[in-house]
């Protein structure tokens, strides 16, 4: 969705102490207590409890049930498929993100702003519709349906469809992290590299890439989290064939609908761990870039 998912912030979080010590910005102690208590209660209710529930429910029936749920063949094949889908779709969007950011930030051309809006488009489309569009193009009744059937190629209710839907919903992640950063960095360093005799590739690898590596990693992490966790879009195109076209989130759904709650939460807990890892890495990168932004920044 446009503007959200927190673009990489290079400024670092300012210290709240600055506001608390200033008599003009200090809140009344009671107001402070009420606001803090309310917001933290809300935070606990809506964010902490759902997260905790995943792990508690996963282990409710004991560790052996937990381990069994993760090691049964259908679970393993769901894990494998999720990894494959991410391994294909993330690099695709990575390459796209770099290409798009390069064209948009290093050159001037008409319609640039419109192009940026189009790149953000998948964030404003419901995941269900993201799945639907590929059914309309590649499904049995779709544009290429008859041709695909004649040539015995399966896209919908098969892995290619899942990959396409995933690529669609994770489309903007890398590009949108890179564009603001590269815009701010300008073109002077690349020009300097060229005046010093670097070839286009040398310029990109030695100057551009090191300058964007953290934002790139940030985009990849967010892209990966969404790719592994996508449910709605994938659910439309997958066909839910156990052991074949089930990703982890779809496997969770099936187990849950079969009232195998502990198993469902066991698989869900893996995805929740992935989410926590994503947040940890995200915070680390934000901390790193904030550090770099401030170290000896005295001109």
């Amino acid at each position: 969705m446009a503007g959200a998912s927190g673009t990489l912030d290079l400024r670092g979080r300012s210290a709240s102490a600055r506001f608390e010590e200033n008599p003009a910005t200090r809140d009344n102690p009671w107001a402070r207590r009420i606001i803090l208590a309310t917001s933290l209660a809300f935070f606990a209710l809506f964010l902490v409890m759902p997260l905790a529930a995943v792990f508690v429910e996963a282990l409710r029936r004991g560790l052996s049930v937990y381990v069994a749920a993760l090691t049964e063949p259908d679970a393993l094949s769901a894990i494998k498929l999720t990894l494959i889908v991410a391994a294909v779709s993330v690099p695709m969007n990575l390459v796209f993100g770099i290409a798009a950011a390069w064209a948009i930030t290093k050159f001037d051309f008409k319609g640039k702003q419109f192009l940026i809006t189009l790149i953000d488009l998948p964030f404003s489309v419901s995941p269900v519709i993201a799945g639907l569009v590929f059914v309309l193009v590649f499904g049995a009744q779709g544009w290429f349906g008859p041709w695909l059937r004649e040539n015995d190629i399966k896209v919908i209710f098969a892995v290619p469809g899942i990959v396409l839907a995933t690529v669609f919903v994770t489309f903007p992640f890398v590009a949108r992290e890179l564009i603001p950063l590269m815009q701010a960095q300008g073109t002077e360093e690349e020009e300097a590299a060229l005046t010093l005799g670097a070839t286009g590739w040398q310029m990109f690898r030695r100057v551009t890439l090191p300058n964007i590596k953290w934002a790139l990693l940030y985009g990849v992490i967010l892209c990966n989290a969404r790719a592994m966790g996508e449910f709605g879009a994938v659910s439309v195109v997958s066909g839910h064939i156990r052991g074949l076209t089930n990703t982890m989130p779809l496997h969770v759904e099936i187990l849950y609908n079969e009232y195998q709650f502990a198993a469902a939460f066991a698989v869900a807990s893996l995805l929740a761990l992935l989410a926590l890892l994503t947040l940890a890495l995200k915070s680390y990168i934000e901390w790193r870039t904030a550090q770099q932004g401030t170290v000896g920044d005295t001109p």
Binding site: L36, V95, K110, V128
Partner: protein
């Protein structure tokens, strides 16, 4: 000016060409399929598909619950952003990092987890049920799920604006004799208004299209707790491609209008942020 002009930095043609081709193949052409398919329907059939009572009931729930959830998030999101920027308290960094959980947690996981909390015998449900409050498998459950997934949008749009707000503005207000309350209401909140509206619109747009976290807790009763994305899937499962596509195009048109609105709001946020600082 795409074309003849020679450029110094390499790779313009390649990168823009690849960008446009990839964008068209993955996003634009597939999306156009929705409208092309809808265009083949007769006006009568289209109208019937998008205005059937059961479909209209889903609009009412999807849009109503999304608006309400976004409004709840504006209030509590603002308080959370305020706490994170203005107050120091133990665990602030951890809270800050966890705000993005709804972005990172797969929606299906959020869905089953919220259901476990609010079901009749769940962690919270067991206390609420005796009070006559039913949440899971009712429209209220839909609201709860949409609050969950929309929360970071408001916090993350308001937070940076609040951080960039110069203390001097509030110092000036105080020096002119304003009480703290007057300063907040008349000086700080107006400066945050564009960001709050943007956050509201983003949370709303996300909520309208949300599927995974809702379907587990909603109960999905036709006419009562069925959301629009679900009706698309239901129609698909009944091989009613035309009907599914018709409803999808209604949602798409709505999303595009909302996207336009959000872009305008963000432009406003940027401009007013400049003006204030």
């Amino acid at each position: 000016m795409v074309g003849v002009q020679r450029r110094i930095l390499p790779g313009f043609g390649l990168s823009l060409g690849f960008t446009l081709a990839y964008l068209s193949l993955i996003v634009l052409i597939p999306l156009s399929a929705v409208f092309l398919k809808t265009a083949t329907m007769s006006a009568g059939a289209l109208w019937e598909a998008i205005s059937a009572p059961r479909v209209v009931a889903t609009y009412r729930l999807s849009f109503g619950a999304s608006l309400l959830a976004a409004a709840v998030n504006v209030v509590f999101g603002l308080m959370l952003a305020w706490s994170l920027v203005r107050y120091s308290f133990p665990g602030r960094k951890l809270v800050d990092a966890l705000i993005d959980l709804p972005f990172a947690l797969p929606t299906a996981v959020a869905g089953i987890s919220l259901t476990a909390l609010y079901a009749k015998n769940g962690w919270l449900g067991q206390y609420l049920e005796p009070l006559g409050i039913k949440i899971a498998f009712t429209p209220t459950g839909v609201l709860v799920a949409l609050i969950f997934i929309g929360l970071p949008f408001v916090v993350r749009t308001v937070q940076p604006v609040l951080e960039d707000l110069e203390a001097e503005v509030e110092e000036a207000a105080a020096s002119l004799g304003a009480s703290r309350w007057q300063t907040v209401i008349r000086v700080v909140l107006p400066a945050l208004l564009p960001a709050l509206l943007t956050g509201f619109a983003l949370a709303f747009a996300r909520a309208v299209g949300e599927y995974g976290s809702v379907i587990f807790i909603a109960g999905n009763l036709p006419m009562v707790s069925e959301i629009t994305p679900l009706i698309i899937i239901t129609k698909l499962e009944q091989y009613d491609y035309a009907g599914a596509t018709a409803v999808a195009s209604v949602m798409l048109v709505f999303s595009f209008v909302l996207l336009l609105l959000i872009n305008l709001l963000q432009e406003w946020t940027r401009r007013s942020a400049r003006k204030v600082s």
